[in-house]
Symmetry: C2
Subunit: 341 residues, 2 copies
């Protein structure tokens, strides 16, 4: 039996869904993977932090968070501390970094992950920032320390994208990809096609919890561009930051434009693309009208999809239908099993 | 550097495409995977066999096969021999079993693979027969001998299906799947939608080489049923043979029925399905009319797709567009790298 101490940094929708999945799969992990986990620390944005080397009661922490109560009361002597201090003090074997993304700098998540790797912890994240702003550095640091830095859930939630290319598609060379990678904009466009105004559609997306309080990162195409940058950086081996991607959001797609497209049998989608160009790469994110024969035409609501073109497999498309925090949590759990095995 | 001796049993479209891919990726295998391969035997159906422990010239064998010449002349003392004797005499580390499928019994491929595993060789196949008719036995034998039995290319060519579930989706429980898994029938239905008669469409499919000389295995749904049986057996852990699957082919789909569906905005597809039912499983293969919102609607020509429903990922769809012998060959190569690593 492998006894693994876990620190959870970030305890929002994704962090809590991960906690629930860890609890739900506790027996399977024990029996089929010989993994016995224990939570030694939880740091939240609004409900304090808790550290306890002998184990934090995860079910209690979940109910405290849901009830909007401070989780620090779960253990004695929990002074407020910053993320890096939390990581360094935790004594964990594995850090889950699930704080909010910063598209421009990737901070403070990069510092958190760096601190974990420096301490010889595996680091797993659903946060795209560190992948696009510090991938090379963090991957090298992980290798030097003999641990792993994994990030499956940063693109298309828990659908296997990075692990697919890194583990089951050897010797393949990725030439290009094209997809719908942002849930909020795709849901808004789907609702507008059904006659809702942009504002009504956005309000609905926010009410379902898939959109941040400030939705501009989604609407303006930043989230999509960061995902494109992450895929290019990791899968094509070409470091690319979102500001180097031609980017146009859906903010000027009107209800009239959506109706007009629909009447012509077309659909607006925020299309993400990248393709090799000599030794470099070209990439863009922009709204396009696509026809029913397009493989992305049926990607509706919060679903996402990506078609990969490689030298050995022709076109391979991965589609994830109606994901949620639980699917993101699954990607984190899959990474966890990978690092422990 | 790992020096690996390979025996190729079956040298038709798939066997030859594998040979070409092995040659094309020779340098990459050497440099990135420290694998140095050598072909120690090739057995063909119509052009004889060759065995040479010091290495068979693969390029020469390919040109002999293409020129319809006996490959036995490539080495001295090559008596005609049956498949099992070929395997036992080869001295290979890895057997690629790519003989023609026998839907009803899985033979003689099962005997070939069994002989290889008994000798301590890894066995890799694109032949569905052994997977549906002897999976449990062959998997156990491989484990007992400390070698591997892999079969990625048996369903959806080289697209990662088995390896996806076995390597990158831990703790997931597959509830059901639904897909278009037979290229010949899908191409025929696509061509009929464009106005060709069944016979014209079939002739075209045969001319492109994707269909066997006797196309009845495809048309009557046997190939699809065998693929469903393979997925259920391996991914759901429930042994299932094709004769236990409710099966209806596309032989009575008329051009009139196809036109009528098209005029109604629908499309005929040969739909493959399986779902858990208590401790057991239900499965069927049958033509259905599907609408444009169906995720399988855009699977045209020789493309195939499957949607998996699991406890942790919602719906995950894998689509492979326009595969060919090279993609099947890639699945075999990916298995090869897995067994050698």
């Amino acid at each position: 039996m492998k006894k693994i101490d876990i620190a959870l940094l970030g305890f929002g929708n994704v962090g809590r869904a991960l906690a629930q999945l860890l609890l739900a799969k506790r027996e399977v992990l024990r029996e089929h993977y010989q993994i016995e986990w224990s939570i030694v620390g939880i740091a939240t944005r609004r409900h304090g932090s808790v550290l306890n080397p002998t184990g934090v009661d995860l079910e209690a922490a979940l109910s405290f968070a849901v009830a909007d109560k401070e989780i620090s009361s779960l253990a004695p002597n929990n002074a407020d501390m910053d993320g890096v201090t939390f990581v360094r003090t935790s004594g964990a074997d594995v850090l889950f970094e699930n704080t909010s993304v910063n598209y421009q700098t990737g901070q403070p998540a990069i510092d958190h992950i760096e601190a974990a790797l420096e301490m010889g912890m595996h680091a797993i994240t659903a946060n795209k920032g560190p992948v696009v702003h510090a991938f090379g550095r963090l991957a090298e640091l992980a290798q030097a320390k003999g641990v792993r830095f994994l990030y499956e859930s940063t693109v298309m939630d828990g659908a296997p994208i990075f692990s697919l290319w890194q583990e089951v598609l050897p010797v393949a060379k990725l030439h290009s990809f094209r997809g719908v990678l942002n849930s909020t904009t795709n849901l808004i466009l789907t609702l507008m096609e059904a006659g809702k105004s942009f504002d009504q559609a956005l309000a609905h997306a926010q009410a379902t919890g898939i959109t941040e309080t400030d939705p501009s990162g989604d609407i303006m195409g930043w989230d999509a561009a960061v995902k494109v940058a992450a895929l290019v950086t990791v899968l094509m081996g070409i470091p690319l930051t979102p500001d180097n991607i031609e980017r146009k959001g859906i903010d000027d797609i009107t209800l009239e434009a959506v109706s007009k497209a629909r009447d012509a049998g077309l659909r607006w989608k925020l299309i993400c693309q990248a393709w090799r160009d000599g030794e470099g790469v070209e990439a863009c994110v922009r709204p396009e009208q696509i026809d029913p024969n397009d493989s992305l035409y049926n990607v509706m609501g919060t679903s996402s999809a990506v078609t990969f073109v490689s030298d050995v497999l022709g076109d391979l498309t991965i589609t994830e239908t109606n994901p949620g925090p639980q699917t993101t949590a699954y990607g984190l759990l899959a990474d966890f099993i990978r690092v422990v095995r």
